[in-house]
């Protein structure tokens, strides 16, 4: 349960500012994506994370530089918070050769080897077994690292989820499973697709600690991730966190949203992670509207520069179509 409004925010003000900054970067980046999708500069599937920003922000805030991240097709926010430059991300959205995946991935396949960001997997639950393997490598090479694996509650119905949970628990691997429960898998509400809607019960059945967290509360997310990541890093085996959250936008740009009431969306918007957190900081008089405006202006500059970079970046030459299918090797 959230303690919002009861206890003061337990972070130094600089850290709180940073959390606001990161959530705002995601929000503004994605607003720009939606706009430029309308202008047809961005195409394909585009899944926005707006409303869920606290989850990626809080969890990734708690990771060390050599920890790994495995995410889904709804991963702009994760990549941004991880430090993949907004320019490289926006250029990828535009399909340019300067994109973080050279224009080969697009919105759903953002990668960054240097930051151990393993993508952008567009197969529901496809990332979970990969995260298990990354954890296995860390375990066998005795590296005190964590692999954070993000996925939606829809993934819990897939066989890959159960196989991965079992393997991670059986082999006691350092994987932090982060379920982003936004209530819907496309148009299918959890209760309409899964016989057991208590996701923690399902994770716990594999013998790993499992905890539900208010995913709209950046404080709750950050503290839960801090504790779980430390346990995982210290060799306690995998852990599961269910972040209860909500996406404010459609599933993708093709979704007419026939499956939910506007009133429901409005209710969740009132719990939006960005304004509830800044309101709380303001109430504590450690943060002002002017502070917010300053951060917002800084973010706006970053996004503007990213858009300009993307829009003026070159396309990959068609002659290079076949590159990066295999790893180049020095000929024998």
């Amino acid at each position: 349960m959230t303690l919002r409004g009861i206890h003061p925010v337990p972070f130094p003000i600089e850290e709180s500012r940073e959390l606001v900054h990161q959530m705002l970067r995601i929000r503004r980046f994605e607003e720009a994506c939606a706009e430029w999708y309308g202008l047809q500069k961005i195409r394909g599937f585009l899944h926005l994370y707006i409303g869920e920003e606290a989850v990626a922000t809080g969890v990734i805030h708690e990771l060390a530089p050599d920890d790994a991240i495995v995410a889904t097709y709804r991963e702009h926010g994760h990549a941004l918070v991880r430090g993949v430059p907004a320019k490289a991300l926006m250029a990828e959205m535009f399909g340019r050769s300067t994109g973080c995946s050279r224009g080969r991935g697009g919105s759903m396949h953002l990668f960054d080897a240097e930051r151990r960001f393993y993508g952008g997997n567009a197969i529901v639950a496809g990332g979970l077994p990969v995260a298990v393997g990354l954890g296995l490598a860390d375990r066998m090479l005795a590296r005190p690292r964590v692999t954070a694996c993000f996925f939606g509650e829809g993934a819990v119905a897939e066989g890959a989820f159960h196989e991965a949970m079992n393997l991670a628990a059986l082999w006691q691997l350092p994987v932090l499973f982060c379920c982003e429960n936004n209530g819907y898998a496309m148009g299918t509400a959890l209760a309409r697709s899964q016989s057991q809607t208590d996701l923690c019960a399902r994770a716990a059945s594999y013998g790993m600690p499992a905890r539900a967290v208010d995913g709209m509360d950046i404080v709750a997310v950050t503290l839960a991730a801090r504790e779980a990541a430390a346990q995982v890093r210290n060799g306690a085996g995998p852990a599961f966190l269910e972040f209860q959250t909500y996406r404010f936008r459609a599933h993708s740009m093709f979704d007419p949203e026939l499956y939910r009431e506007r009133a429901e969306v409005e209710l969740w918007r009132e719990r939006g992670p960005l304004h509830t957190f800044t309101d709380r900081l303001k109430a504590e008089k450690v943060f002002s509207e002017a502070d917010f405006q300053r951060i917002d202006a800084e973010v706006a500059d970053e996004i503007r520069a990213a858009l300009e970079f993307a829009d003026t970046s070159p396309l990959e030459p068609v002659e290079d179509l076949l590159r990066d299918v295999h790893t180049p090797q020095a000929s024998a």
Binding site: G105, V130, L136, A137
Partner: protein, 328 residues
């Protein structure tokens, strides 16, 4: 010289890989305590311990994907999928992740993963345990496919696969494990991925790989008794495919028969046949023939299974037909 079975050769290859590189580990169902369902990994658990000879639960999708992640994380995993039949449950990780990661990431990641699996029919295991999907795997850009058909390749192809920075699938025919022969010199790096002429001949080229190689060679021997000299080309690698040697051989012999245990429709033999048409049509003296499996789920009864799969007699008949004319 002493003879070795393909099973022993594969075992020695595994043992060598585990000995030489501490990053190598074997993951699969019953690879440890049980010793491998085809006994290829027998006794390795004792020697290398349960961390590196890792018995996996019945989770083909899960542990194949874990192989991808382990490869990304710096290990050199060998995934053993008990048989190709169960690889259907792992296809998503092979096709959607292992094969695509390098490209989707704009060349940032390599997936040095080796996946071994037993394949093929011939032991009366019926419709769910007798598949050949060689062409399916060879269809996928981003994967490489090796098919050992000699004990020398059984001994050395694993090393070739492990030395490669990308995902490699090794298809080991279930009947091949007990074939015996003399282990020759390891292939040179230049020859690692190339087709090999197993028998020289002037009248036609028999094209085979993996489990069908020994049948093609046996057919060639029978044909020789009738005065037909068949060249036998062992493709060895289905992707990349050695187009050069394929076309060179067929241009010389002017006739070709492709032997493939898969169903004919959409088989890898169809690909070979198309390549020959593209590269050697005007040199051909006869249409390319394919000896493939009959279009039926594999029946259990022995005589029906034999009738459904390529046999030496079928290859001989097809060869006669391309040489003398008439129907196969």
């Amino acid at each position: 010289m002493s003879t070795t079975s393909a099973r022993e050769a594969l075992h020695d290859a595994l043992r060598e890989a585990l000995t030489n590189d501490s990053r190598v580990l074997l993951i699969g169902e019953d690879v440890g305590r049980y010793g491998g369902s085809y006994a290829v990994s027998k006794s390795l658990l004792t020697e290398f311990g349960p961390q590196r000879i890792r018995d996996a639960p019945l989770s083909e999708l899960g542990f194949t994907g874990a192989g991808v992640g382990a490869a990304l994380g710096g290990l050199r995993p060998i995934i053993e999928i008990m048989t190709v039949n169960f690889s259907l449950l792992a296809l998503d990780q092979l096709v959607n992740t292992a094969a695509t990661l390098r490209h989707m990431s704009g060349g940032q990641f390599s997936v040095p993963l080796v996946v071994r699996m037993a394949t093929g029919a011939g032991r009366q295991l019926a419709a769910q345990h007798s598949h050949s999907f060689d062409g399916w795997f060879a269809h996928i850009p981003g994967l490489k496919v090796l098919t050992p058909g000699t004990v020398t390749d059984a001994r050395y192809m694993l090393g070739i696969a492990l030395a490669d920075p990308d995902p490699v699938i090794l298809l080991e025919h279930a009947q091949f494990y007990s074939e015996t022969g003399t282990i020759g010199a390891p292939p040179t790096p230049d020859e690692a991925w190339r087709a090999a002429t197993r028998r020289v001949g002037r009248d036609l080229t028999l094209i085979a790989w993996g489990g069908m190689l020994s049948r093609a060679l046996a057919a060639a021997q029978r044909l020789a008794a009738e005065g037909i000299e068949a060249e036998v080309l062992d493709l060895r690698s289905l992707r990349p495919l050695d187009n050069e040697r394929l076309i060179e051989s067929v241009r010389r012999t002017r006739r070709a028969v492709v032997v493939d245990e898969s169903w004919r429709t959409g088989s890898f033999a169809a690909e070979i046949s198309a390549r020959i048409m593209e590269g050697a049509l005007y040199e051909l003296d006869a249409p390319v023939l394919r000896v493939c499996s009959a279009e039926v789920p594999m029946p259990y009864a022995a005589h029906l299974e034999v009738a459904a799969t390529p046999q030496i007699e079928n290859i001989v008949a097809a060869a006669r037909s391309v040489v003398h004319g008439g129907s196969a």
